[in-house]
Symmetry: D3
């Protein structure tokens, strides 16, 4: 390949990739001065929230008696800056307004929402306290609260969920979903930020857990890895597309336990105190205190050598 | 422990770890000047490809009318540098040639392949466009294309797959597999780069999905978390080791849907338009428009207090 | 919102978040000079161990004949510094002693343990060599040892496990669990560091695998994605909390294979050479050479249009 | 020192440092949302300008025929973002307005100025081209233009000056001075951005050069290290403070050469083509083509052993 | 060069460089666990001190009413950690004790000194306040205090001096000298930390200023670039080496001004209110209110064409 | 300014900056695959050399008995990689060959030179050892060798010079000059890499020192800040440009001392053991043991109030 051929091929491809036809639906065009959601800043937001909620665990400096308030003050300050910026970016992302003052329109509201969120942090800490305690009590392998806070993926996923859920309640676009995906990527636990989840929530191991957007979970619920709380079918609109926003995921009442790999589909209600066994498939409602397990398989002899 | 004892223990271990016998099969010895695959650079390659395919979503700067071509030009330039370097590193990695000009032998071909790959990018963008659209239409919780592109793990995994698949077709060693693993680590979705997958492909949630190396998927296929398209058994060669390269994974025809946790094993064909229910286990072919669900479990009363 | 209102809301929240009542159980208070476990340093520890065990694969510089010993010497040196620091941090983390010389009390022991661990590295390399070989032989898609070492998530998870297991045997608190979680986050494979696992261990794909803390696995065991080796029920103490430390996870004897999505619960023994099919649910012991598969589902016609 | 004493001392100092009396004149209080000049971003601004003016020398990627325009496009884009932000920060820095919309007041003007500056870049490149050529011709040790551009501190200082001078003409506060100081710190050459300097300007070695704010230099001027173009005396106002803004530094006409360590003070004019010798002290005007050297010292015998 | 020759040359050089004879005086051998002074941490120390002394100028976050105390609290905390570590490293650096508890011996004292230094910060702020004010009043080009604090190299050098001087008074080894060198490298101003300097100190431009270790400067002194306050001769001891610690640098009384390039050598006293002209050479004491200027050079015709 | 006007202005400027006419002499055009000198890598080269020459002072890890050889081995390895790359980049930079195998032509020679340089490192260490000792003996304020090595700018500048000088002897283009400029920027000491300098060289304070490219310095020379060893005049060629390469800088014989601010110009010889006083101007040769000082200025009364 001569340099000339090389240049021709490269330049030709650049032209193709620059044709608006080729990217018009896959492109995010910015208005001048409009901020873009920043994965790096959202990561910092979550790190700050984690250090605020669990003081002394994730920061880089020694926390001592009498210094907590200083750290809270500084962290809240940093959080406000970063979070209001990301909320603004999320608003611009979904806003189709073409006016030049798009940013200033959203800016005031973004700041207001950031303050509202910050005011809710003490309540998030209280709720996460119940989750940590429940997780500790439920896991015979846990040695102390510290280990649960420092290294349990369930707690990390629940924290991101509680943060994302509040932001979604405050009508922040895009950002809540991304915060959920951050936890999903780190832990394999996929909780839609719109789901409603009570206190004392435990997720053990967690990889493969999916909790859909209209699911409702009471207090003291415990689920294991691979549990799906999903939709059974999507009512279609006249054009054959799924109708959005209809309740289509399960309701788990208080004190429900669901073991690994179980799948519960549709707007069914699992009654208070029920226990669903591993790998079970449930598509209808169950009364309180139900017990469901998978029927035991038969042993079947194999005829081929190595596999099944 | 005295300083003397400490030094003796440490030095003794260093000697043991430096004995060629102890690492001969676990070591990658380089020839002078031979590049090593760089995880950092491969990460940059993927980031660049993502920004090229979805302009304005992942870069750090504002994209505006009239500037797209500049960005495409610069990104393609950077991509060529990084990718040709990694392809070369992959070639050296698998090359047992001991000659001193090993690197220059491979260098020309590495550059040629990088150009071939770059020329294919418009087609990858076109295909991913169909994936994004299908994902949006299939998920009632998705608000717009932007959200799908920015935060859906399925799209991230499919993009890495389409990139890795092309590189594998161009006979690049090692790198395609690693690009797949990057997506696997981030999303829990494990697609072998050798698999063949049509357009309009949707993966929802995705954690735990496995698609084997000889699997073939038609257009408009949709799969959920935990779905395995695996091998049933491996024919063994005379020495009892699995024979490599034999077709051993499923074929899914167009418009197939497979729900969460289903397992399809072996070189079976799932006919056009079929729907496989969650947690179902399939090891034989199915005609078009088949419907398969797991038999409902019985409710079984428990006798012990806490578990199952 | 006026600046005054803004300041009032923010300051009020800072005060709430600084009330000891609100964080007393969720806070890690440090004694002066006491080190905190550092996720960044633990990441470096694992990177160093990986380069020591698999020379030439993950470092940044060319490894050549005659230079291995230099690299081993420098890496061991760096490892000692970092690891003894993290062990010390782990000890302080779980130590409730309030005395001022808490750090110096633990310091000597932390160094001693770091040396003991380093002395065990040749043995970890030997064991991982058997794992790499078994993984290569078991996967028809694997091209060579290098590919397995460089990109297979199973090897990464097993390496972290073997490191964490040794540290736990040396009675290091907190750190082993965190090293396991690092692999869990990267690979979706969750192996408790207290589990006991023999040589030639293969995990393929791996997402969703859970191996509990009292599980025992023999040599030449192979498991696939989504396999759970879990507890069936937890005996409760008089206050209704799970009793910690009781054997409650399965024993897999040599040469056992467990396919994707299978769940084995409780202190059961799966006999030598047994094969458990995908998605199977096992809660009782099986004799050697057992074969278990899930009963085949019936085809069931659907009545609704789009879903199941 | 007990922990109690330690805490008391530290807390007491924190209180002292937080008393507004102690910092009121030394503090920069921000209004909410007001950007702060960023040394990091200003460094990036200068790096971008350098790569734009001297394509291919300082960037990280290969520049080839046909790609220049892409790089220019992307760099200008990035420059606009960063520079308009820093200009805005500079404006807010010096603005004593307390109104809440301080930022939006300045924002439009900051963008306008950034565009004006960018439009002037081709002229800055043209002028720097004459500086590079003059520097090359004047230095027998210079091998080619490339060496001059890549490593001569004089060129670096002149570039920063030409950039800062234009920004000052555009009435940007604070930033021009800081850009000058960046070059001062790197090269030891201190050119006030308000000085007026013609084309073909050469500074050789340069450490210790000082060019005052009201100095005027013609074309083809050459100066060496340690040259001061300073003020002789400052007229005082009624309160005894220096009156600001009065012309008080020298005028150098075209083709003047000033050798190392010479000092020229006050509003004097050094006529066209004059040559001032090293270490000379000049406080009065000189006609064109003057030649001034320091009177030769006498040799003086020493009486003490080691020093002078 | 064959690979064999290459390896031989490299290995031979490594051996030579590893012979203790070749480095014994040029090597810093550490005891196990002994910290090394960290240029990176000392840079952070200075950055923290600068932000503490001049709140709002150099930090990364918005400073607002009511948050100052939080920032002071957090910064002091971080400063204590870093500074006590560097003081300890400096102590170990100069300590020839070979005992194993070398570190713990010095640790308590290092912490004590760090606290003493922190308690002195309010006084350093007060003194720097007088320096900032004097610098502003002395420079007609200065627009406001903010510009002086943000970008004047004199202030940066004086701050490092005042910090280093206090640490030296507290008998910290090595670190003070290095902090002075940091300012020297950035600004070209070389103030020995042992020098004694009063309030309201101004250095303008500053490149090339040298202030020796036994110099004493009163209040309201002003010096320009290139001024040397040096030693004239060093009394030698019996072996012909300079005797250390003897007063050998000038004393400048209050209100002295020294213009650019002047050199004052030896233990002479420049009386209150004196003014020394540029490039002047002074080696004897002067009474108060002296005025000294360099004798004017003669104009001398040149005979050669281009130089002097 | 409307968006349209903005785009027009920006795009117009991009076009102007992309016109080859506007940058043809100021641009460095790369051939494909040709490396560019990297300031970042050259910084690493110098850091590595410094740690190799002065073991234990600048590295990040503890150096202990028995580990020196490991560190030397690893550092030499890294140095070879980086340095041979930068030498190659320097060669390509000055090579006007347009052939496609430009890089491979230079590559072998670049590696050969890197090895030659590495073989010379023990000699550089030996010479620097004499410089450190001389610096320590000459400065009454120096406390020990460690302080001199760790923080004296003279040593830093001499080290860069000795490295650059050797590379220049090995005919490496561009890189030696840049390494000199790195020291110039950090220390204000500007030594041309072509100058010839003997052992036991001391530079005290150093800011403003300039040593020209054809200067020759014997052993045991000591110079202070602001000393210039420069050219007096440049013989011109027929076109009026300076003739390059003619000896035009001073020769200092052994044991010469030159005090602060002295200027010595032209190809003169300062005889063995001579002492030149501060601020003196010398343009003729001096016999051995000369003593030259500046004639003392007269005190001259001032008539104006504030300045001189």
């Amino acid at each position: 390949m001569t340099t000339k051929e090389f240049d021709a091929k490269i330049n030709n491809t650049i032209l193709k990739l620059s044709e608006p036809e080729s990217y018009k639906q896959l492109c995010h065009e910015h208005h001048q001065g409009e901020p873009l959601p920043s994965i790096k800043n959202l990561t910092k937001v979550i790190d700050l929230v984690r250090e605020i909620l669990f003081p002394g665990y994730f920061g880089t400096t020694t926390l001592r008696t009498g210094t907590t308030q200083h750290y809270m003050g500084v962290y809240i300050d940093e959080l406000f800056e970063l979070l209001s910026g990301e909320i603004l970016a999320g608003m611009c992302f979904e806003c189709n307004d073409d006016s030049d003052n798009k940013v200033s329109i959203h800016n005031e509201r973004a700041k207001k929402i950031a303050v509202d969120f910050i005011e809710f942090l003490p309540e998030i800490r209280r709720m996460l306290g119940t989750d940590v305690e429940a997780t500790f009590l439920n896991d015979p392998a846990a040695r102390n609260f510290g280990e649960v806070i420092f290294s349990y993926p369930g707690i990390r996923a629940i924290m991101n969920y509680r943060v994302a859920h509040k932001l979604l309640q405050l009508e922040v676009p895009l950002i809540p979903r991304f915060i959920s995906e951050m936890a999903h990527s780190e832990t394999g636990i996929d909780i839609h930020p719109r789901a409603q989840i009570g206190e004392k929530f435990t997720i053990d191991h967690g990889t493969g857990v999916v909790i859909g957007s209209t699911a409702i979970l009471g207090n003291n619920v415990k689920i294991y890895q691979g549990v799906t709380l999903g939709a059974k079918s999507f009512p279609l609109d006249e054009e054959g597309n799924p109708i959005k926003g209809i309740p289509r995921h399960p309701i788990l009442e208080d004190d429900v336990v669901i073991y690994a790999g179980a799948t519960i589909l549709g707007r069914v209600t699992i009654g208070k105190g029920s226990v669903i066994g591993g790998n079970v498939w449930v598509t209808n409602s169950l009364p309180p205190n139900s017990r469901v397990v998978q029927k035991r398989p038969k042993d079947i002899p194999f005829t081929d050598g190595a596999g099944i």
